[in-house]
């Protein structure tokens, strides 16, 4: 199994193996961050995610707050107001109790700050070697008020692509600490909740907010490709508009990574109807988590459906592809 890095292989695993295995129980429509389930006239939104980050503690956060933010954000990408979370801990025997306490406290603080309750949970201790320290599984539930109903499949030509802030920090920070590369002095994870930002965006843009996605594993490139494919539209991004912090750019340069392929935990990409784009952008910039929001591209009216291209600094157009497993050089 080489499906760990997000991107194309994990997508193949889901569409090729896991979904078919569900048979008639499989969801319809494009793959989304969270599912909308109508319950008694209310649009209930549900999402679940397993967190296996290494290291558990990193500049800017830890696995506890990450598990809260990640699930809150997945709910938010469907314009839901998060209500409650369930947390499950899978702990390897011998894992330091102090570390567990630290993680749980961090999760609690993150939930309180986000205004969601942790309403239930589970803890399993497994034998040494059966898990790598600590895994956290979080499930979230929310409700979606009438109005915006963003979906990966709802993007149309002419839409404007907005990004809420700088990319590349989370993945580079994690990699740097894990491998001792020394970039983490200047780079911290961007992990944070985005539901308030989304609320401001939908208040400003209403049904003009067509799609939202938090570019976590696989980075901005995966998020854009997933939406382009789900909506069957060509997407054009302007490389010069992509906000990459200088320290991230320098680290990516030396590591041979494309910042667009690096994971984020605190930003979102939005596809918005052109006539609402300015209001939405202004609303985003009114909140700290959207302070660096920028317009990064558009949905073209002609071009290969599903293809994401980047207008480079040189002026040519590069195909921005999803990562395929671990990145293998394509240069011969």
């Amino acid at each position: 199994l080489g499906h760990g890095a997000g991107g194309q292989l994990s997508a193949d695993l889901v569409t090729g193996l896991l979904l078919p295995a569900l048979g008639s129980a499989a969801p319809a429509g494009p793959l989304e961050d969270a599912a909308v389930v109508p319950v008694g006239g209310v649009d209930v939104v549900i999402s679940t995610d397993a967190y296996v980050v290494s290291p558990l503690f990193f500049p800017g956060g830890d696995i506890g707050c990450l598990a809260v933010h990640g699930t809150v954000n997945d709910l938010a990408m469907r314009a839901a107001t998060p209500v409650a979370l369930a947390l499950a801990y899978v702990v390897e025997e011998g894992f330091p109790l102090a570390d567990l306490r630290r993680v749980a406290a961090s999760a609690g603080r993150a939930a309180a700050a986000a205004g969601v309750a942790v309403v239930c949970g589970d803890t399993k201790v497994v034998g040494r070697g059966a898990a790598d320290g600590l895994y956290v599984v979080s499930t979230g539930i929310g409700h979606r008020p009438p109005g915006a109903a963003p979906s990966a499949g709802a993007v149309v030509s002419g839409d404007v692509v907005l990004l809420s802030g700088p990319i590349g920090s989370h993945g580079t920070a994690i990699l740097s600490v894990r491998e001792g590369l020394g970039f983490d002095a200047d780079i911290a994870s961007d992990t944070r909740p985005l539901h308030r930002l989304v609320a401001a965006m939908t208040a400003a843009g209403g049904t003009g907010v067509h799609a939202l996605r938090d570019p976590t594993r696989g980075g901005l490139a995966s998020a854009l490709n997933e939406i382009a494919a789900a909506s069957g539209v060509p997407v054009e991004i302007d490389e010069a508009a992509l906000p990459v912090p200088p320290a991230v750019a320098a680290a990516c340069e030396i590591l041979g990574l494309d910042p667009a392929h690096v994971a984020n935990e605190g930003c979102l990409v939005a596809f918005v109807a052109p006539e609402r784009a300015d209001e939405v952008l202004t609303a985003m910039r009114g909140l700290p988590e959207g302070g660096g929001a920028v317009r990064i591209g558009t949905v073209a009216d002609h071009g290969e459906p599903g293809r994401v291209t980047v207008r480079t600094a040189v002026g040519s157009r590069r195909v921005l592809d999803m990562l395929v497993g671990e990145q293998l050089p394509r240069i011969c």
Partner: protein, 768 residues
């Protein structure tokens, strides 16, 4: 004796090459009655007369065919003469077969020949004040001019070309209809009264005035976009450093050599040293850019070919080029009209947008370009013409396949230097060079060109061959093709199969694939491989030692990192002081790269010959950063070419790992590091080339002993290195083995699609 009635089908490259006029003349000379016409891509002859004369005709169809024709297949059906007894022998209107008809069935490949440079007769007329086409930039005849770049559909007739919009004037029509004329059925025939016109787009000036505007601008140090045969070209004075540098800046092409066009062979000889084989290649009808060693102090601006002694020269391919060179009387940079990796511009409006920031003026014309064909690049290796980039003048000529394809095949090629191949039966059509697929416009150009050629040949490939690399955009494209069968072909198997196939080898062969990187069967990157192969399969016998690529593609772009990879994380420890390398580099980079190698962070591992070239180039201080793909190897070869003597080889070793022979490069690299800075770089570079030859011959001799196979196909990007290619063939010959090199398709990734097609055809044939 009673007359007979023969129906003869001629297949191959037989349209647009003066074949029907030729048949007309021969048949009339023999007193035969009947007709000749183009049908789809073939020529169909109906001839009635005595059997002896018909046999003479049939023999002539092959034996005396026009120089540009390539007759691949003759089918004769004989019947006693029936009711049809036409008077005389005539050329009749072209036709299309009903689907499924004809000897090769629907979509028989053939018909559209490549473009041909202006012939000697037309050139004479071009500069003859008494000729009615004096200085007409679109003069052409049956023996020269545009073909593939103007064809809309088959059969290849004026009505189905970009010339359809130019009704012939009376005088041109008379020439077109006169069997005795050189322009009899020359589809692109035109004159100033009825044909295409030059236009200077800035102010709409036409004809001589447009030409004068372009000439003045180039003479004054400007850059002019000139509409050529298969795309726009950027033209400037090759002797003026300032404009050459400006062109580099605007084109975002910092170092890769520019092609230089000169008026004639004499002018070429002033700039470079040409062998008789170079003369023949450079002056041939295909007119490729030919890589030849420059003469020092030849007057070319330093920015034309920085860092290498090889300069790409070519002669005018169109009358317009002749007119420009005659007026300017100096060598001109003539390079593809594009920015960085984009495809060459063909459409007028598109060119004006895309080249707006590059060209100072546009010299265009009103004949549309129907298909994109960039200039071809070639060189001679041991006296044999060898293509580096196969496009205008060569594509879409047909190549043979060793095993006939039972169903039409599409082979999608690799990623960089991209080509695709479509194949049917025993023939393969390799599309023109299309650049790097990660450029969105190049990707679109690929799919457009594929669609156009499939339509032209009425072929619907249902078998698709592709590389193993899941990230190549060609592989992704193949996955979406509506195929009945998909044939994955390992990159280096495709390389060596391309070589074997163009030589028509049968049975097993040894394959030496010296390359940059390609995905291997085992999920690691390969590139220094010795295979025992057939067209259907391969077995790995030997490989180069492995090393990590710190940062993946970043290591390919920066040979200095590759050198650190070999020295700090390679399969074999290098026992030498790395100071000559490390002292030159930024300590921060060295620390991080070492850490990346230790921890395996984005460090894919490769057994590559190309990467070893990169590492050695950096260790010797020849190249730390590659400005274009393969620059380090080009510079190392250039350095080695400066070596006068014949230095001894460096130490090397062959290890056995997991049943494979493995070239252990550690003694080689140790010796290089020890001597770096003390011995001349040229000597060390030459010694390194010699070492690789020794190692390779040794591995091949072992393989031949074990397998009994003594034919060695040498392919992969590194075989573009002439020193290595000639050294290997000579070394193998001395060891009693036969080495084969690619000539018709590039040894680099431009040849991959042809190799994939050969493998797919053989595998499909074996299944049946």
């Amino acid at each position: 004796m009673a007359d007979e009635d023969w129906s003869i089908t001629v297949c191959g490259t037989v349209q647009g090459v003066g074949y029907r006029p030729f048949v007309y003349r021969v048949a009339n000379d023999l007193g035969l009655r009947g007709t000749v016409r183009n049908v789809d891509g073939d020529v169909l002859i109906r001839a009635v007369g005595p059997a002896g004369a018909l046999r003479t005709l049939t023999a002539a169809l092959r034996g005396q065919a026009p120089a540009l024709a390539d007759v691949r297949q003759l089918t004769v059906a004989t019947t006693p003469a029936g009711q049809l007894t036409p008077a005389g022998f005539v050329v009749v209107d072209s036709d299309r077969r009903p689907p499924g008809d004809g000897p090769g069935g629907e979509g028989q490949l053939g018909g559209v020949p490549p473009d041909v440079a202006t012939c000697a007769d037309c050139l004479r007329e071009l500069f003859d004040p008494a000729d009615r086409r004096y200085r007409y930039p679109f003069i052409t005849c049956t023996n020269c001019g545009p073909r593939a770049t103007i064809a809309d559909a088959l059969p290849y007739d004026r009505a189905r070309t970009a010339m359809a919009g130019f009704p012939l004037c009376d005088r041109c029509a008379a020439e077109y209809a006169d069997p005795a004329d050189r322009r009899f059925h020359a589809e692109a025939v035109a004159c100033a009264d009825c044909g295409p016109r030059l236009v200077w787009t800035a102010d709409g000036r036409t004809g001589e005035a447009a030409l004068a505007a372009a000439t003045v601008m180039i003479a004054d140090g400007g850059i002019v976009a000139v509409k050529g045969l298969g795309g726009y070209q950027l033209v400037c004075d090759a002797t003026a450093p300032a404009v050459v540098d400006r062109l580099r800046g605007r084109k975002y092409r910092p170092r890769k050599p520019f092609a230089v066009m000169v008026a004639d062979l004499a002018a070429a000889r002033v700039l470079a040293r040409l062998t008789p084989a170079d003369d023949e290649l450079i002056a041939g009808a295909a007119r490729p850019v030919v890589l030849v060693p420059a003469r020092p102090g030849n007057g070319l601006a330093g920015g034309v070919h920085p860092g290498t002694d090889q300069v790409g020269l070519f002669l005018p391919t169109t009358p317009l080029h002749h007119l420009l060179l005659r007026a300017l009387a100096r060598p001109l940079v003539v390079t593809s009209g594009n920015r960085a990796d984009e495809p060459i511009a063909t459409d007028d409006a598109d060119a004006r947008t895309r080249l707006a920031g590059i060209a100072d003026g546009f010299c265009a014309h009103d004949r549309p370009i129907r298909a994109r064909y960039d200039d071809s690049v070639a060189r001679t290796v041991a006296g044999v013409a060898t293509l580096v980039r196969r496009a205008r003048g060569y594509a879409p000529d047909l190549l043979e396949l060793p095993a006939a394809a039972p169903a039409p095949i599409l082979a999608v090629g690799a990623q960089l230097k991209h080509t695709f191949t479509i194949a049917r039966g025993g023939r393969a059509l390799v599309g023109p060079h299309g650049g790097s697929l990660d450029d969105a416009d190049a990707m679109t150009a690929f799919t457009d060109s594929l669609a156009a050629l499939c339509r032209l040949h009425r072929i619907e490939p249902r078998v698709v061959a592709h590389d193993l690399h899941p990230g190549y955009l060609s592989t992704r494209y193949a996955a979406r093709w509506p195929a009945l069968a998909r044939v994955p072909v390992q990159h280096h198997h495709a390389h060596v199969a391309s070589c074997a196939a163009e030589h028509g080898l049968r049975g097993p062969f040894l394959g030496v694939a010296y390359d940059g990187l390609g995905l291997g069967d085992d999920g690691t990157l390969w590139g220094g491989e010795l295979l025992l192969a057939t067209y259907t399969g391969h077995e790995r016998l030997a490989r180069f030692g492995r090393a990590p690529l710190p940062g993946g593609e970043a290591a390919v772009r920066r040979p200095a990192r590759m050198a650190l990879g070999y020295l700090t994380g390679g399969e074999f420890p290098v026992d030498a002081d790395p100071a000559p390398l490390v002292d030159r580099l930024d300590p921060g980079e060295v620390t991080v790269v070492r850490r990346m190698v230790d921890r395996g962070v984005n460090c894919p591992v490769a057994s590559s010959a190309g990467r070893l070239f990169d590492a050695v180039a950096s260790m010797l201080g020849v190249c730390d950063d590659a400005g274009y793909e393969g620059e380090a190897a080009v510079m190392l070869e250039s350095a080695a070419a400066m070596c006068d003597g014949r230095p001894a080889s460096l130490p090397w070793r062959v290890a056995e790992v997991d049943g494979l022979w493995v070239y252990d490069w550690s003694p080689t690299l140790s010796a290089l590091l020890d001597r770096a800075g003390r011995a001349p770089v040229a000597e060390l570079a030459a010694a390194f080339h010699r070492t690789l030859v020794e190692v390779t011959v040794d591995l091949c001799v072992r393989a031949a002993r074990r397998t009994g196979v003594d034919r060695v196909c040498l392919s992969g990007g590194c075989l573009g290195n002439r020193l290595l290619a000639t050294g290997l063939t000579a070394g193998l010959a001395a060891a009693g083995l036969t080495g084969y090199l690619n000539h018709a398709v590039p040894a680099g990734d431009g040849g991959i699609s042809y190799g994939q097609a050969a493998v797919a055809a053989a595998r499909q044939a074996a299944k049946e």
